[in-house]
């Protein structure tokens, strides 16, 4: 009704309406051409493996290029944040061009599987290369590298005999001495998710409140910032992923190496369930049109050669046993890892975020 009046008004014949009409037909013509072009583009030309990666281009592209060089299978890549890529996969549905989804943190892998974005894969090569704790029991996702989240303290300023577990971080003796990043970060969410599993929700909340009251400052920055803050003396204790410290150890910049030299790693829970670890990992998407090549790519990523490069480029621990550690990573020392199946972290993630909100961890 509202539309008829102006339309009729416009249909009035007159000198002015001719250009409008020719413009309109030109527009329609262009649109049709565009559509044809898109149709041509949309028809699958060759069997690429298309990768959606939450792992940054710099850390994954060189390996994909090696895979292409060795197998002749072209790989296309788009990177973005994990949550957004999952949203994209979900909305694109069965027509999604993606074959492989790569991300960090088991919480994300679990969320992707729960949302029905991945499909189970049966591969003897993957199963023999990856320990059971670091892959999904039905093969929905596979860990590709490991990182631990230990406690890092200022050498000489902290009596580590009082700091042997994550639970110890809630002790009042550390008031005003702890630096950690925001609770919006998935690494912290996964750490709390693992605590929920071992302590239960109530105990975790009590722990969180005491822990938050020990913060030296409002959470800000990334893990590297926490390590630097410890080295500079702003706080004495930081919680950070291992590769951030290893990167400083291996840095070309002397200032970075100086920072690393002032830090001592404390591996928590060595008498108990082990230090919290997490994975970067990948799965074949539910929408994949090229499952065979997608699986070949995953299998390539756990070959000893790829594992060494993949773990070394980001200073992580290879998921495959017997692969040599980078010097920087080896320098951090050895530890026993929590063998909790990582799917649990994903299941507890939402509760973890809520508890952190309740404890006012910003």
């Amino acid at each position: 009704m509202t539309l008829t009046t102006p339309a009729a008004h416009d249909a009035r014949p007159g000198r002015g309406s001719r250009p409008a009409r020719s413009l309109a037909s030109a527009g329609i013509g262009t649109a049709a051409l565009l559509l044809l072009a898109l149709l041509a583009l949309a028809t699958p030309a060759q069997a690429d493996v298309n990768v959606y990666s939450a792992r940054k281009e710099e850390l994954i592209k060189p390996l994909l290029d090696r895979f292409t060089a060795g197998s002749g299978i072209p790989v296309k890549l788009v990177t973005a944040n994990a949550g957004e890529l999952m949203k994209r996969l979900e909305l694109e549905g069965a027509n999604s061009p993606a074959d492989v989804f790569i991300t960090v943190d088991a919480g994300n892998l679990h969320a992707a599987q729960e949302a029905g974005l991945l499909q189970p894969v049966d591969s003897a090569a993957l199963e023999s290369a990856i320990p059971a704790a670091y892959r999904h029991p039905q093969g929905y996702w596979f860990g590709l590298s490991l990182r631990a989240r230990p406690i890092m303290v200022a050498k000489g300023r902290v009596d580590t005999s009082h700091l042997t577990t994550y639970a110890d971080l809630a002790d009042a003796r550390w008031k005003g001495r702890i630096c950690i990043r925001s609770s919006s970060n998935i690494y912290n969410q996964s750490l709390v998710a693992s605590l929920i599993e071992s302590l239960g929700e109530n105990e975790t909340l009590i722990w969180l409140k005491a822990f938050v009251s020990n913060f030296a400052r409002d959470p800000k920055g990334g893990d590297t910032d926490q390590i630097k803050a410890v080295a500079a003396g702003e706080c004495d204790i930081a919680i950070a992923n291992t590769y951030y410290l290893a990167r400083l150890v291996a840095s070309d910049d002397k200032a970075d190496r100086d920072v690393a030299s002032k830090i001592q790693v404390v591996w928590p829970n060595q008498g108990g369930r082990g230090t919290h670890v997490n994975v970067s990992g990948a799965g074949v998407t539910a929408a994949s049109k090229n499952v065979a090549d997608a699986v070949r790519l995953l299998e390539y990523l756990v070959t000893p050669e790829a594992q060494q490069w993949y773990a070394e480029v980001n200073n992580e621990y290879p998921v495959r046993e017997g692969v040599k550690l980078s010097d920087a990573v080896a320098s951090l020392g050895s530890f026993s890892a929590d063998d909790l199946n990582l799917s649990i972290l994903g299941e507890n993630n939402r509760r973890a975020v809520m508890l952190m909100d309740e404890a006012r961890w910003k």
């Binding site: 509202t2 539309l3 102006p6 339309a7 008004h9 416009d10 002015g16 309406s17 250009p19 409008a20 559509l35 898109l38 949309a42 298309n50 940054k56 281009e57 710099e58 850390l59 890549l77 788009v78 990177t79 973005a80 944040n81 994990a82 949550g83 957004e84 890529l85 949203k87 994209r88 909305l91 694109e92 549905g93 027509n95 061009p97 969320a111 990043r181 925001s182 919006s184 998935i186 409002d218 959470p219 800000k220 920055g221 990334g222 590297t224 910032d225 630097k228 803050a229 500079a232 702003e234 951030y244 070309d252 910049d253 920072v259 993630n349 939402r350 975020v353 809520m354 909100d357 309740e358």
Partner: protein, 565 residues
């Protein structure tokens, strides 16, 4: 019949249709706010919502006050006085516009953090340790206000400046004869008369503030954009995130109404043509030094210092080599920005002309609604774009399968078309307001005069409008270009396979806590953004020289930008 320009007008119905297409992304998100409030929403209300609201308000008002103070004072000084460096500062004050807020935030953190060079030097020099001294914390709410103020004040400066330039000095003279001193006449005459322009600049700055994600995330300040992201992806609740986004939209809507209300008054305060140019007074001694310092400070803090730090990083060991791959990134960024700017201009012209020709409620509402996207965080716009595109693609695919047995797959999702669409949704506001402001100065009488000289409607457009609008059109293109260069979240998530831009590159490295590695890409963004800003600046300098001639009213003045929201 006079004043009709059919070439540029699709009619009210067409315009409304186009507008509704452009608001789909925002509406899609807003719509999910009507889902019943779940556990997560109640949790948010109980715990963090109050903090989001108060922090967002403080941020918005803080940046508002900051940009107003810096923008108005520098504009007033450069328009009314001559002092050492004024010629350079006049355009130099625009340069911070080329800096994405998150990059300036990274840079200042690198410099002023506890572990950074400045504080370390202080500690080393004076032998202080942590509790011996006080130093402002960069990564805080106050820091976020400072960062956003530094890069957003040019909007207010640009608008305030052109408003001051267009004012007749007669009004001030009258005030002076009535006994007002220079300061009193500034507050009682100059400032009130420039109010609509100031509010327009202010609302642009405040909308950008509300949509900012990079800075507040890096600083760990809990505001709406952060909260939306965290609720969506951490708590995994799209509906609660949308409800947060809806509250944010409420803020924006209030801003838009406020701005509209202020413009309503402006219609009655139209100034006549300038009878006498503004008298520029030469400052001497302390006054000259003070004026120079006041104008140099925003330029130094908003541009020179961070640009210097970035350059130092880029030249250091972590700097990235400028090779063919890097140049390809530059090309991607520049072509994408150029395309989006051109597209936004065409659409802006279309909306502006339709409103001029058919000022009916439907059209006025449509042109208002398409500007909302400017204040919506890029991530929200991106998901809002993905949703309808994916639905359309999958529906077409389903139809083609059932009718012809062929699968068309995804036609639009994951293409540059989707990226472009998101840019237009996000930035149309900027070009529409610029074009509007320009068009407002083309009076009906001029159209009629053209027609009476025997020009046909199309010729009126070509011979009267185009020359008069040239400045505004160029400004519109340049502003959108700069904005798209800096845009991150929508580009990141909507782009096709193997397509990278400078902003994506800088973000990936900086997001991975490698600020120094990100510096080369960051500099390239700033440099590419600098070209249009310099163009803008050059034409500012030109209008200034041209403006005093009374017969050449401030017609093609480039420095006239968005005058409404």
């Amino acid at each position: 019949m006079s004043g009709r320009h059919p070439l540029l007008s699709p009619g009210p119905a067409g315009t409304a249709l186009l507008a509704s297409l452009l608001c789909v992304p925002v509406l899609v998100v807003a719509a999910s706010a009507f889902y019943p409030a779940g556990e997560v929403w109640r949790h948010l209300v109980d715990t963090v919502l109050a903090e989001y609201v108060s922090n967002s308000l403080i941020l918005m008002l803080g940046v508002g006050a900051g940009t107003l103070l810096v923008g108005v004072s520098t504009a007033w000084l450069t328009v009314n006085f001559r002092f050492p460096g004024a010629r350079v500062l006049e355009w130099g004050l625009l340069l911070p516009l080329a800096f994405p807020a998150y990059i300036i935030a990274y840079t200042y953190t690198g410099m002023l953090d506890y572990a950074g060079p400045v504080q370390t030097a202080l500690r080393d020099t004076f032998g202080w340790s942590r509790n011996d001294y006080w130093f402002p914390e960069v990564r805080s709410l106050g820091g976020a206000v400072a960062m956003l103020t530094l890069v957003l004040y040019p909007y207010v400066y640009l608008l305030a400046r052109s408003a001051f330039l267009e004012q007749s000095s007669v009004a001030t003279d009258v005030a002076r004869t009535l006994g007002c001193g220079p300061v009193a006449s500034f507050f009682r005459v100059t400032l009130p008369a420039a109010r609509p322009a100031l509010i327009a600049g202010l609302s642009l700055a405040m909308m950008e503030t509300l949509a900012d994600f990079g800075t507040v995330q890096f600083f760990g300040v809990p505001v709406f954009t952060n909260g939306i992201y965290r609720t969506w992806f951490g708590l995994g609740d799209a509906a609660a995130a949308a409800q947060l986004a809806a509250v944010l939209l409420g803020f924006v809507f209030t801003l838009v109404m406020l701005e509209q209300w202020s413009r309503r008054g402006a219609r009655y305060t139209m100034l006549g043509s300038r009878s006498r140019p503004i008298e520029v007074r030469r400052l001497r001694g302390a006054a000259a030094v003070g004026a120079c310092a006041a104008c140099a400070l925003p330029l130094a803090l908003g541009f020179l210092l961070p640009a210097g730090q970035l350059t130092a990083w880029a030249l250091g060991p972590a700097g990235e080599a400028i090779d063919a791959k890097f140049l390809h990134l530059v090309w991607n960024s520049v072509s994408l920005s150029g395309g989006a700017a051109a597209l936004a201009l065409v659409l802006a012209l279309l909306f502006a002309y339709t409103r001029r020709l058919h000022p009916v409620l439907l059209v006025r509402a449509a042109t208002r609604v398409v500007t909302l996207g400017y204040a919506v965080p890029g991530t929200v716009v991106a998901v809002g774009v993905m949703l309808p595109f994916a639905w359309l693609d999958n529906t077409v695919d389903g139809l083609m399968r059932s009718a012809f047995g062929v699968s068309t797959g995804l036609l639009l999702s994951g293409t540059l078309a989707a990226v472009m669409f998101a840019y237009v949704v996000r930035f149309l506001s900027v070009s529409l307001q610029t074009v509007d402001a320009g068009l407002a100065r083309v009076t009906r009488n001029m159209d009629e005069a053209g027609r009476s000289l025997g020009y046909r409607a199309g010729e009126v457009v070509w011979r009267v409008h185009v020359p008069m609008l040239r400045g505004s059109l160029l400004t519109a293109v340049l502003l959108v270009f700069v904005d798209v260069m800096k845009e991150l979240p929508a580009t990141l998530i909507l782009r096709p396979f193997d397509f990278n831009t400078l902003a994506v590159r800088a973000y990936e490295l900086a997001g991975d806590e490698r600020l120094e590695d990100a510096s080369t890409a960051a500099i390239a963004i700033v440099a590419a953004g600098l070209v249009p800003v310099l163009l803008l600046s050059v034409s500012i300098a030109r209008t200034r020289r041209r403006a005093p001639a009374p017969e050449r009213r401030p017609v093609a003045s480039l420095d006239r930008i968005p005058a409404s929201a």
